[in-house]
Amino acid sequence: MSNPTLVMYEEEFQEVNDVIERLLKEANAKVIFLVDKNGQLISGVGETERFDTTSLASLTAGNIAATGGLAKLIGEKEFSILFHEGEKDNLHISIVGGRVILVVLFDNRSSLGLVRLRVKKTSEELSVIFEKLMKKSEEREKRGSSDFPFAEITDDDIDNLFS
């Protein structure tokens, strides 16, 4: 399959959160999200409760997909950074390790230059973590241990969801 199931474990989740928490402070940002390219929210730090994070994740992924399509049309592999400037708030969106999307929301307490600088360093750290995560999943698969947490669920369990 072109896009295997993404599995996030406690350990890496904590590592990812530590890294983006630090970025939040260093870049003076309001909110930071990590989104899977398929539109699933992986994590968010900062003033997340003020936003509809699920919608934000889906639209960000759509945005990245659309600009990725544009990039291919002009012979580029992808546009790895997108920047949206608003009256008060701005969005800096970048692709990390080819698979994950890092979204930084900031206002005039920060600047594009600062965000770009800090994001660059953070991207490298995140890439390492996601690389590790992928390897972990692959190894588990090789060992034959399923990543699926409810391999033993019954048809009744599934039916109960819909009752």
Partner: protein, 195 residues
């Protein structure tokens, strides 16, 4: 593909509603949105033109409940049905876990149905998927219209692989939840197998 988060104990899956223009994909989602309890759904997003034709996609996040302590969430997407939006359709199929093909039962739309179904196969293949290996359901929509073709004829043209099928009238909601439940179940069963 699906996203399993052990830290937040969640499983996220993506369902795409596919089909020709004006077959009722958005209407399916709108009905699900209207009839779902507020705590089980997120905001429905429609990226549409001024004439309410889908431009990029509709999006509706649903959370169905828990299985063995894991929250199951389904993200429902529609594609733009109009032929010339093919580039956008391809993008939406990325990471799909299950597909609902919404067919327009009217006789004059049979060619559009066939064309859209072929387009679905091609676009999936480009992303490395095989429709015959994906959880996949057909919904025959607009059964209430006078020009609706008999099910046997539709089946002959559209359901050659004999996948689960449902009759529907998305405007009144008939068959809408049956379709959704069936595809969600197929996805979970598929995941259970560890595919």
């Amino acid at each position: 593909m699906s996203f399993i988060n052990y830290a937040s104990r969640e499983i996220n899956c993506k369902i795409v509603y596919y089909g020709p223009g004006l077959c009722g994909k958005t209407t399916n989602l709108q009905y699900v949105y209207q009839k779902t309890a507020p705590d089980a759904k997120g905001k429905m997003i429609s990226l549409a033109t001024e004439t309410e034709r889908t431009l990029f996609f509709d999006f509706l996040p649903l959370s169905l409940g828990e299985i063995r302590g894991f929250k199951t969430r389904f993200h429902l997407y529609t594609v733009p049905g109009q032929v010339f939006y093919d580039a956008s359709r391809k993008l939406i199929l990325k990471g799909v876990d299950g597909v609902v093909f919404v067919a327009d039962s009217q006789e004059e739309r049979i060619d559009a149905n066939i064309e859209s179904l072929e387009n679905l196969r091609i676009n999936l293949k480009e992303q490395g998927y095989d429709l015959d290996k994906l959880p996949y359901i057909i919904q025959y929509n607009k059964r209430d219209l006078p020009g609706a073709m008999p099910i046997e004829e539709l089946r002959l043209e559209l359901n050659t692989t004999n996948v689960p099928e449902f009759e529907a009238c998305a405007t009144t909601g008939e068959g809408v939840f049956e379709t959704l439940k069936a595809v969600a179940k197929l996805i979970l069963v598929d995941l259970k197998k560890g595919k």
